[in-house]
């Protein structure tokens, strides 16, 4: 076994400053190990919320890598920084009032037309989405395709930070999913029925019972709850 592999720590650079951290930590844990405290740029710690966008380079590699700090383990020679927020214009709209007859995506985000299909967004996406493909679908006004291709978007904003055409991809895709859900997706009949039941007061009694329980009784109820296999 080589000396390197036996080494239990890795050398990383946080905003240019060198730290030695235990091997196997995620970037997020390594930052905390090094003394940083997250106030922004952290959320679920499970790869779902998109708050912990990270940019890094590896020593000797020209490539600019992008990932989520909570999902990526540290490597030797990693030069990294966090991007807790991407400035990207989000247009105001009222979903109920939106004119969807033409192409609402292009109407609200005309910068979509600046896309030159360089594919940088797709290469950047930590979710491995086909971002450029859904931008092209957005230009063509295909709401459903944008909604489907962007379904796993977690709004980290890394694509928007890297785009040479300055498109806010994540906001465009979110709008597409909202329009799709509001106007195009088939109605969910069971949901409508359940809402009717709730409005008719069918669950009021059970809910009130819970609300009026003492903390101890509620705790006991929770501990003895039925857990589906």
């Amino acid at each position: 076994m080589s000396e390197d592999a036996e080494k239990q720590t890795v050398e990383i650079f946080i905003m240019g400053k060198k730290y030695e951290v235990p091997r196997g930590l995620t970037i997020m844990k390594a930052m905390e190990y090094s003394g940083y405290q997250y106030i922004r740029g952290v959320g679920c710690r499970g790869g779902f919320c998109g708050a912990c966008a990270t940019i890094y380079r590896l020593e000797g590699d020209y490539k600019l890598h992008t990932d989520l700090a909570c999902q990526t383990t540290v490597q030797d020679g990693m030069y990294l920084t966090q991007l807790p927020f991407t400035p990207a214009g989000r247009e105001g709209y009222d979903l109920e009032e939106l004119d969807i007859s033409n192409n609402p995506l292009l109407d609200l985000y005309p910068e979509l037309a600046r896309c030159v299909s360089c594919n940088t967004c797709t290469k950047t996406c930590p979710q491995d989405l086909e971002v450029m493909d859904f931008v092209n679908e957005a230009i063509r006004g295909n709401i459903k395709e944008v909604a489907e291709l962007s379904f796993d978007c977690i709004q980290c904003g890394l694509c928007a930070a890297r785009c040479p055409a300055e498109i806010p991809h994540h906001h465009v895709a979110q709008l597409a999913r909202r329009i799709y859900g509001r106007y195009q997706a088939p109605d969910s009949v069971h949901l409508e029925e359940r809402v009717e039941e709730i409005e008719a007061g069918q669950f009021d009694e059970k809910l009130n019972e819970l609300v009026n329980l003492s903390k101890e009784d509620l705790k006991e109820r929770y501990e003895n709850r039925e857990i589906e296999e």
Binding site: C115, V116, S117, C118, N119, E130, N136, I139, R140, P164
Partner: protein, 293 residues
């Protein structure tokens, strides 16, 4: 049925749906299935002449990379602008190895390209691969007595390195008209620019060009104008309708895609979506009546 890889471009999915639907229908009559490539992006619309900015060549070239990755050696277009942009980007990298390398380096983890996909316009398929005889065989309703002005615009024949016909005196659309039993009319504006993107913010330029071109066709006796360019179509059709508001004496000439004309001659006029046109080609021309009778 022979399958050929087809690149639609954005306009054929939006303002020029009748172009695509008619092309699909007439192709089937000719034993051709236009198979849309599964993933494609905008062609770039206008070929970038900026010599040192290769970023704008990525869009058109990626379409060719994706066709090649699907196993295709060629890619067929309908829209004149897509045809022009794809062919010129392809030619750029075929002739300039340094630029090709630079583009491949930038595309990085995508597969390298070497200019190996051949871009062809649908008209080239008709003329060079199927032949006018084959077109003639499928005519069920000859366009007898109909005078057609072939309008090439800029993109189909220029520059000559990628043009599919003589840039000054093209004949390919006229040959198609003849194959369908119609009469091509000579008119002096067949390769005149329609004004292109000035339509966005300098509409008056387009109104002037449209008047010149359509009045020229009308004076030459044309019953209709045919084109293969969605932008020319928009300018000559929609803007011509606006022209009537300010020039009431203008004699409107309908503008249709060449594939729509083929659909009429192949007795499939229902695929044409003529109702989307600003100047309805149906009345006056009696095309449908001819088909019915």
């Amino acid at each position: 049925m022979r399958e050929i890889p087809y690149y639609p471009g954005c306009s054929l999915k939006d303002t020029a749906k009748g172009f695509e639907s008619s092309a699909m229908a007439v192709s089937r009559e000719l034993g051709i299935e236009l198979k849309e490539i599964p993933r494609w992006n905008c062609c770039g619309t206008v070929y970038s002449l900026t010599d040192d900015n290769l970023m704008k060549q990525l869009g058109p070239l990626r379409n060719l990379v994706r066709s090649r990755d699907e196993g295709y050696e060629s890619l067929y277009t309908l829209c004149s602008m897509c045809d022009n942009t794809l062919k010129r980007a392809n030619r750029l990298v075929q002739e300039d190895e340094e630029k090709l390398n630079k583009i491949n380096n930038f595309m990085d983890q995508e597969n390298d390209y070497s200019g190996e996909v051949e871009v062809k316009h649908y008209l080239e398929l008709l003329r060079d691969e199927l032949g006018w005889e084959k077109v003639m065989e499928n005519v069920k309703q000859p366009l007898e007595g109909i005078n057609v002005a072939p309008y090439y615009g800029c993109m189909l024949t220029r520059p000559k390195e990628i043009g599919l016909d003589d840039p000054h005196n093209p004949s390919i659309l006229g040959e198609l008209v003849k194959s369908l039993g119609g009469t091509p009319v000579n008119f002096p504006y067949e390769t005149e620019c329609c004004g292109s993107y000035n339509t966005v913010d300098k509409k008056e330029i387009i109104l002037g060009k449209t008047q010149t071109i359509t009045a020229g066709a009308s004076k030459a006796g044309a019953d209709l104008i045919i084109t293969s360019c969605p932008l020319c179509h928009f300018n000559l059709d929609s803007r011509q309708a606006e022209l009537l508001d300010i020039a009431p004496n203008h004699n409107p000439v309908p503008v249709i895609y060449f594939t729509q004309m083929m659909a009429v001659a192949f007795a499939k006029p229902e695929v044409n979506e003529f109702e989307e046109h600003a100047i309805d080609p149906r009345p006056g021309l009696d095309l449908e009546k001819k088909v019915v009778s």
